[in-house]
């Protein structure tokens, strides 16, 4: 009790469920002492966007559930689609042809760029810098135009199929990709000028939300947040999938593990992804984009409409699904936020027995209290933006 006899007490602040800075529906109950966050009154409430996708998977075919993966991390849906189809291919023991793998790499990296553009852009908007967001969002739209041109959808892409890519890259798409890369270069340079040495940005992000190497591993951090803490772990290099071992790129690593480092890591990852896309476009071999195995891959469109056998096969596929061997696999890929895992248990039949998704931001968010304890209320926004919490992925 202070000397003048006035009583002081902490204040409970409800942050969310619907708040512009939560980027989804997330409810925090913060205990404040003045402007300092003492801690959480109780654990944060999540699950407002829970749609029971894992339950649905047990009643769908393997192909049908690809559409569900669009709705998890909706900022970078192609990464989810490709991650899931790779997990199913792992269960089946098949591998898509080289050209299809190159197409997947290019689309993955483009959507990684889009995800990082949005993440850093929105993080900056939350802290009052509007311009980087607009700069980045324009480029993101151009990347979405590529997806639209390729598959017809922008957000819910369903871009990848099991054992194949549905469409080949034509000249137009390759031209569009090259245009985006060329236009992205100056944007990233301008971001650098706008933010990297910006006094306000540095004050708001330096030494905010710090996590050490050991703690980051302990809390299950993956992706840019783990690398910002100084752990050089990237599944694209450590456990190479697709054709990443044929491409030359670096993984940026931070030193402090704060919000500023996460920003720097993400921006550098955009540059590295651009490098990967350029190389992949150059190295992409000619050849088929689907495996010639009619028990795994859906028939081509023109065959479905012109051949009786293909139509029957298509019907059987849609109704009964593919015949996968019994077994369990944990397929993992490096999504924009970190390790995206699909644990598939199959016991024969039309549907998987169980699919469990390991969403990267679930684990990032579980450490949220640790990151903001003892910090100012304004830092909550800064840290939340840097973790890139996507409610669709968090709640599934």
């Amino acid at each position: 009790m202070p000397e003048n006899g006035l009583r002081t007490e902490t204040m409970v602040l409800n942050f969310g469920p619907s708040h512009p800075a939560t980027h989804g529906i997330i409810h925090l109950k913060l205990e404040l002492d003045g402007e300092t966050v003492v801690g959480f009154v109780e654990e944060p409430t999540i699950g407002y966007l829970h749609r029971g996708m894992e339950k649905l998977a047990e009643n769908m075919t393997f192909h049908q559930w690809i559409t569900m993966t669009d709705r998890m991390n909706y900022v970078s849906a192609p990464l989810n689609n490709i991650g899931y189809t790779l997990a199913v291919e792992k269960l089946l023991g098949v591998e898509a042809p080289k050209r299809a793998q190159y197409i997947r790499v290019i689309l993955s990296e483009l959507s990684r760029i889009a995800d990082h553009l949005v993440c850093v852009g929105i993080n900056a908007v939350d802290l009052g810098a509007f311009t980087p967001f607009l700069w980045g969002f324009q480029q993101r739209e151009m990347i979405y135009d590529i997806f639209e041109k390729y598959i017809g959808a922008r957000l819910t892409t369903t871009i990848s199929r099991i054992g194949e890519m549905r469409y080949d890259f034509d000249k137009d798409i390759i031209y569009m990709i090259k245009c985006v890369l060329d236009e992205l270069e100056p944007v990233i340079a301008e971001w650098d000028q706008l933010l990297t040495r910006n006094r306000i940005w540095i004050d708001r992000t330096r030494d905010v939300g710090v996590i050490s190497k050991e703690d980051a591993l302990d809390w299950g951090f993956t992706g840019p947040c783990l690398r910002a803490a100084g752990v050089p772990w990237d599944l694209r290099i450590e456990e190479p999938y697709l054709v990443y071992n044929e491409l030359d790129f670096d993984i940026p690593v931070g030193t402090q593990g704060d919000v500023y480092d996460r920003y720097l890591v993400r921006v550098e990852e955009i540059r590295q992804s651009m490098k990967i896309v350029r190389q992949a476009l150059e190295k992409m071999p000619e050849g088929p984009i689907r495996i010639e195995d009619s028990t795994v891959v859906l028939p081509k469109h023109e065959e479905i409409y012109n051949k009786m056998e293909s139509m029957i096969a298509d019907f059987k596929f849609v109704m009964h699904g593919i015949r996968a061997p019994e077994g369990e696999v944990y397929g993992r890929t490096e999504a924009a936020n970190g390790e995206l895992g699909f644990y598939i248990v199959h016991k024969g039949g039309r549907s998987p027995y169980k699919i469990h998704v390991r969403p990267p931001c679930f684990y990032l968010y579980s450490a949220f209290e640790k990151l903001i304890k003892g910090r100012m209320i304004a830092d909550v926004i800064s840290v939340m933006g840097s973790l890139n919490i996507i409610a669709g992925e968090l709640d599934r």
Binding site: H50, D215, E339, Y363, Y365, S366, A367, D395, R396
Partner: protein
Amino acid sequence: MSGEHKTEQEPREPKPPAIAAELVEKFGAADEGFFRGDATVRVPGDKLISVFAYLKRERKPAFAMLVDVTAIDLLGLREPRFDVVYHFLNILSRERICIKVAVAEGKQIPSATAFWNSANWAERECYDMYGIEFRGHPYMKRLLMWEGFDGWPLRKDFPLKGKVPPDEKYALNDVSRLRRL
């Protein structure tokens, strides 16, 4: 095509990680096989804590990451009913191991939160979806479903369309009632 520089690392036949054999030898775990490059071992329930301690503290290099916790409901296929599945990652030796433990319905299982903080929410989600309680967890409450939700959604005997709430007043899906209003 471009095959000049990758000759030395090309023959990468996947091998089971060393940890699988170690767990079999030290804790009497059953080797569940090596499928598509992932090793799985089944650990007896009473040895689980010592396995955690071994993975995190005694083993060099230690398994710094608990990547994922989930469960499988084997209703009608096997007794005990559930399998709790842990995925561990060792970033130093690049080993991954999947550990399974059988749990009967209504029985508790020791929590891994004392060893890995990432177990906190993962185990809560597992409890939320399957009703498996983790002994020693600091906050064993529902995570994705709301407090007071009846049933365990990912159990095989939970209906896909959900249960009808006992109190009709809260029946959100009752369209006919809305039309009358």
